[in-house]
Amino acid sequence: MAKLSADQAFELADRFHDISVSVGNYRFDQWDNLTPSQRKRLEDLQWTLMNYSSDFIAQAIYLIVDDLQGSLKRITDATSEANDAIAKIKTVSKVIVIGAAATVLGAAIMSGNADGALKAAEDLVQAVTN
């Protein structure tokens, strides 16, 4: 017998649920016309049908989750790449510090402020080596 698809399993789960509802309704509608033993048999049947319905739900979910593995792997890989990119952005902070120090050095040189330029150069060396 060919394997069920997830959709077919869900469909069967729904059908078995519907039949269990019908059996339950019949038991209550005909309550006074049924013997205690007949009521018990119908009740047991209803619970068996509910169990089958739940089994088909479990089977469908299993098939869906199994089917997802390829997608999950690819999304996880892409997520890792994105997290690497985020880490790279964080290292940019270090570059910013160096850039800021270089900006000050440039400004000091252009302004002709020798003391300022010397101090800025020292700061730049510190920023790069830190």
């Binding site: 509910m50 469908a60 690819r74 910013i96 900006t103 002709g112």
Partner: protein, 284 residues
């Protein structure tokens, strides 16, 4: 008094204009972040719902006749086979949305004390107030433009690579909850009816007061099931909104503009927010 040569001022001005022009065509990515953050919040409240698929089955066993109780529990174990896989699948979506949010967030970058100290350092280097303001502003704009460009590139790549799989995953999670969990809840509802109505049929005439209390208890139990059914429906809507929002990001990944994103993602952000509240109410 300024010691900067006039040509330097002109260069600075020209560069400022060029950067401003560049930024006008650039993107504020906060809408992407907001979309991702809402989706993430939604996902964070969902493990309880996924776990409840098996819990619903086990609750149902409490309504079973005594001789059937263990048999029902045995069947419920079948649902545990996929529980971990399902939670992991949801976690993959959660992690992805978190990465999407972080990549689009300005908070990823900390400028550090050096940049904050830049105005003071420039003053000491001999620049006047206007020059300090222009230079500091320009430095920040350049950094933002560089990082913004990188973030856009990486976001575009991420959305481009994953869209097909995100569509598959959200559809699968929606199906599991909207169909599978919903049917399990239908079974739980049917079990409450089988239990309470059987007891009422058997004892209501002899014990009318007890029957009244039993009816109240039945109504309470049904109310719980109904809340979970609403949550399952809301979960499906959230998955739809994530899928739709992601598709819009994918379709426009090469031409994002903040105005366009606000217009496009607004309905999804609003839907996700409303639906998440529904799930939260049932599983807080």
């Amino acid at each position: 008094m300024s010691y900067l040569p006039k040509s330097s001022n002109l260069k600075t001005g020209a560069l400022f204009l060029a950067v401003s022009f560049l930024l006008a065509a650039c993107v504020d990515l906060s809408e992407v972040g907001e979309f991702a953050a809402l989706s993430e919040t939604a996902n964070a409240s969902f493990p309880g719902l996924v776990t409840d698929i098996q819990d619903s089955c086990e609750r149902r066993s409490n309504y079973a006749p005594e001789d059937k109780h263990q048999e029902v529990l045995l069947h419920c174990k079948n649902l545990s086979t996929s529980k971990d896989g399902l939670l992991q699948a949801q976690q993959v979506l959660l992690n992805y949305m978190e990465a999407l949010k972080n990549l689009s967030s300005d908070k990823t970058v900390t400028y550090g004390q050096k940049l904050d100290a830049l105005p003071d350092a420039l003053s000491k280097a001999g620049l006047d107030d206007n020059q300090v303001k222009a230079t500091t502003g320009l430095a920040k704009i350049l950094i933002d433009a560089a990082i913004g460009g990188y973030r856009r590139k990486e976001l575009g790549k991420l959305v481009g690579e994953t869209n097909g799989d995100i569509q598959t995953l959200t559809l699968a999670l929606k199906k599991v909850v909207s169909v599978g969990y919903a049917t399990e809840l239908d079974l739980e509802e049917e079990a409450t009816k089988a239990f309470y109505e059987t007891n009422l049929k058997e004892h209501a005439k002899q014990e009318p007061l007890t029957a009244l209390l039993v009816k109240r208890r039945w109504a309470d139990d049904l109310d719980g099931v109904q809340k979970r059914k609403s949550a399952a429906l809301a979960y499906g809507k959230v998955m739809d909104s994530i899928a739709r929002g992601h598709q819009k990001l994918y379709d426009s990944r090469d031409r994002w503009s903040s105005e366009e994103l606000v217009k496009q993602l607004g309905p999804e952000i609003s839907d996700i927010y409303k639906s998440t509240q529904e799930v939260y109410k049932a599983f807080r």
